[in-house]
C-alpha cells in the first residue's frame, strides 16, 4: 500500500508529532507518501481540509468541533482520531502589566486565582482612572487560547467581553504587537511566548497547565467521510504519528526532534527554543528566571495521544458559556463524537483507555467538570454570555 496524502499544518511546536512522523520516515515505513503543507492561518487550514485540498490537518481542537457543528462557517463533520498535544500554551504579559499584577497580588505568583484577582484590581483601577481597557491577544475565536484566557480572568471577576478587549492576532504577529503596545498580553502556543521573553518584551505569567491540568490543544483532523472511506490509510497515519510522539518524548531524542522541527520549511525557529518547549524548561522573565514543569506540553506521554470525548465536551461548554452557540443535547453529543478514541484504539491495537489517562480537565476554579450536566455546571460561574 502506498497512499499519497497532503497534510496542512501551522508552524507551532505542537505540530511536532506530525512533522517528525514525516521527516523521520515513520510515515513512509507505514506506506504513506505525505506532503506537509505549511499554512499561515487557521481559516486556511480549516477551509482546505473542508473542501478536500488537504486529506488531514494539524487543527485547533475547538475548530474541529465548530466545523462539525457548523459554527462560524460551513458545516463539515470532522473526525479527530489523534490528539497532537495537551496543554502547551502560556499567558505572556508585558513587563508593565506584570509589574502591575505583582503589585496587587495576594498569594503565590503561580496561583492563577491570585493573579486573576490581582488582574481584576488592576482593571478596576484603570477603569476608575479613565485609562483605556487592557487588550489581550489570542489566536482564533474558536481556540483553546480564547477559552483559557476567558476562564482565567473571569474566575477573578474580570468580564472578558466588558472589562477588557480580546482580539485575534496571528501568532507570528503576537510578539511585535506586545512590543509596540498594541496588546498588553496574549495567550499563544510555543514558541511565541519564549520569543517574547528572549526579546525582553514579555514575562510568562502562566503556563495553561496552571489553569487546566489537562487540556486538549491540537488534534489530527480528517473529514469524517474521508475517515470512513480511507480506514486503512488513517490507521497507518495514526500509527506513524503515535510512534513519532513516543520518539519525541524520549529525552535522548529531543535534540534530534528539535533539529527536525527547526527547519525553515517546518517551524523555522531556533532548535534551542523548540527543545526548551519540549523539555518544559522555559525562561519566563527577561531577567533570566527559569521555570520547569512536567505539564507544559504533553506530546504523547500520560496517554496524551488518545482523544478523550470529555475534552470535546469541555470545549463545547466554553462555546456555550461565551455565547458562541446555544446549548443543545444533540450538539453536545455531536461535539463529543468528534473525538474518536475508537479509531485510535483500532489503529494501535489497544482497547479501552489506559490507566494513566485520567478522565479529567482539572480546572483551578469552579466545580469539577461534568459533561452529563453542562447547564448546571455553567450555572456555577458568575460571568458568561449564555444564550437561552
Amino acid at each position: 500500500m502506498t497512499a499519497s496524502l497532503r497534510i496542512g499544518f501551522i508552524p507551532l511546536v505542537d505540530a511536532a508529532a506530525l512533522i517528525v512522523a514525516v521527516d523521520k520516515g515513520f510515515a513512509r515505513e507505514e506506506g504513506l507518501d505525505v506532503s506537509l503543507v505549511r499554512e499561515v492561518s487557521w481559516s486556511n487550514v480549516r477551509d482546505k481540509l473542508n473542501i478536500g485540498l488537504f486529506d488531514a490537518a494539524h487543527l485547533l481542537a475547538p475548530v474541529a468541533i465548530a466545523s462539525s457543528l457548523g459554527l462560524g462557517h460551513i458545516k463539515v463533520p470532522i473526525a479527530a482520531p489523534f490528539n497532537l498535544g495537551l496543554n502547551g500554551n502560556a499567558i505572556t504579559v508585558s513587563p508593565a502589566l506584570h509589574a502591575a499584577i505583582m503589585a496587587e497580588i495576594d498569594g503565590e505568583r503561580l496561583d492563577p486565582m491570585a493573579t486573576s484577582a490581582a488582574l481584576a484590581r488592576v482593571v478596576a483601577r484603570r477603569k476608575k482612572n479613565g485609562v483605556e481597557p487592557l487588550t489581550f491577544g489570542m489566536t482564533f475565536p474558536f481556540s483553546t487560547h480564547n477559552y483559557q484566557l476567558r476562564f482565567w480572568m473571569a474566575a477573578g471577576g474580570v468580564d472578558p467581553d466588558e472589562d477588557v478587549r480580546l482580539v485575534v492576532l496571528p501568532p507570528p504577529y503576537m510578539v511585535d504587537s506586545l512590543a509596540s503596545g498594541q496588546v498588553d498580553a496574549f495567550c499563544v502556543g510555543a514558541p511565541w511566548n519564549s520569543v517574547a521573553v528572549d526579546l525582553g518584551v514579555g514575562c510568562i505569567l502562566h503556563f495553561v497547565s496552571d489553569i487546566l491540568v489537562r487540556a486538549a490543544e491540537k488534534v489530527l483532523a480528517v473529514r469524517q467521510s474521508w475517515s470512513e472511506q480511507n480506514a486503512d490509510v488513517l490507521g497507518a497515519l495514526i500509527r506513524s504519528t503515535s510512534r513519532a510522539a513516543e520518539f519525541i518524548e524520549q529525552p535522548e531524542n529531543r535534540a534530534e526532534a528539535a533539529k527536525i522541527l527547526a527547519q525553515a520549511d517546518r517551524i523555522g525557529v531556533d532548535a534551542e527554543v523548540i527543545q526548551r518547549t519540549l523539555d518544559g524548561r522555559l525562561k519566563i522573565s527577561p531577567d533570566g528566571t527559569m521555570r520547569q514543569s512536567g505539564r507544559y506540553l504533553l506530546v504523547g506521554r500520560e496517554g496524551a495521544g488518545r482523544p478523550e470525548p470529555v475534552q470535546a465536551a469541555w470545549l463545547y461548554a466554553q462555546m456555550v458559556r461565551w455565547g458562541q452557540t446555544a446549548y443543545s443535547a444533540e450538539a453536545l453529543k455531536a461535539a463529543m463524537a468528534v473525538f474518536r478514541p475508537d479509531l485510535y484504539d483500532a489503529a494501535l491495537g489497544r482497547r479501552g483507555k489506559s490507566a494513566e489517562a485520567p478522565d479529567t480537565i482539572g480546572a483551578f476554579a469552579g466545580p469539577p467538570f461534568n459533561p452529563e450536566d453542562i447547564a448546571s455546571h455553567l450555572a456555577a460561574f458568575a460571568i458568561g454570555r449564555r444564550k437561552s
Binding site: V168, Y173, Q182
Partner: protein, 196 residues
C-alpha cells in the same frame, strides 16, 4: 452609480501590485466603491470604519484569522458572513481557494450580486499568479545567463578558447551529461571556486 448598484468593496492585500490589478479590474467592471488596505495593524478597526459590503483577502495573509473575529463581535456595525457559507456552490469555493482569494460578504447582499465579483477576483488572482510566474522565470533566465557568461570566461582563460569555442564546449558537455547548460556552467564556477 448609486450605492445600491455598486457595493463597497475592501481589498485586504499586502501585495500592492496584486491589489492594484484587482482594483482596476473591479473598476473596469463598474464597481466604483473599492478601497485597499495594506496595513495590517488594527485591521478590524479599519474595516469597521469603512463598513464595507464585501471584503476580499488573499489566502497567504495571516490576518485572515483576524477577520474571523467579525463573526463573533456582537458590537460590530453589521455582521459579515463568509462567502463559503453557501454550501451549494462547491465549484466556486474550490476555484477561489485554488486562486488564493477569500471573500467575506456582509449579510444582506444577494448571492447573484456576489458571483460576478468573486469570478472577477478569481480571474485577476490567476492572472497575477501567471505574471508572477513569468517574472520568476525571466529572473531565473537572467541568472542563468550570468552564470554561463562567467563559466565561459573561466574556460576562455584556462583553456585558451574563444568565446564561441567555450560555449560549444559547454553545450556539448550539457548534451552528453543530459543536463542544462546553466547546470554545467554552475559546476565550473563551483569547481573553480574550490581550486582557487
Amino acid at each position: 452609480m448609486s450605492a445600491e448598484s455598486s457595493p463597497k468593496i475592501v481589498i485586504v492585500d499586502e501585495s500592492p501590485i496584486r491589489a492594484a490589478i484587482l482594483e482596476e479590474g473591479l473598476r473596469e467592471a463598474g464597481y466604483t466603491g473599492v478601497v485597499r488596505i495594506s496595513e495590517m495593524q488594527s485591521l478590524l478597526a479599519q474595516i469597521f470604519a469603512l463598513d464595507p459590503d464585501v471584503i476580499l483577502i488573499d489566502l497567504e495573509n495571516p490576518s485572515r484569522d483576524v477577520l474571523e473575529q467579525m463573526f463573533q463581535v456582537s458590537r460590530a456595525v453589521r455582521r459579515p458572513i463568509a462567502m463559503f457559507v453557501d454550501q451549494s456552490d462547491a465549484a466556486s469555493i474550490q476555484a477561489s481557494v485554488d486562486a488564493g482569494v477569500s471573500a467575506y460578504i456582509v449579510d444582506g447582499l444577494k448571492k447573484e450580486r456576489i458571483k460576478p465579483i468573486l469570478d472577477l477576483c478569481i480571474s485577476r488572482f490567476n492572472a497575477f499568479a501567471k505574471l508572477q510566474d513569468e517574472l520568476d522565470r525571466a529572473k531565473s533566465a537572467l541568472e542563468d545567463r550570468k552564470v554561463i557568461d562567467r563559466a565561459k570566461g573561466i574556460l576562455m582563460k584556462v583553456k585558451g578558447l574563444t568565446e564561441e569555442e567555450a560555449y560549444v564546449l559547454l553545450r556539448s558537455t550539457a548534451m552528453r551529461e543530459k543536463k542544462k547548460i546553466s547546470e554545467i556552467a554552475q559546476s565550473i564556477l563551483t569547481a573553480s571556486e574550490m581550486l582557487k
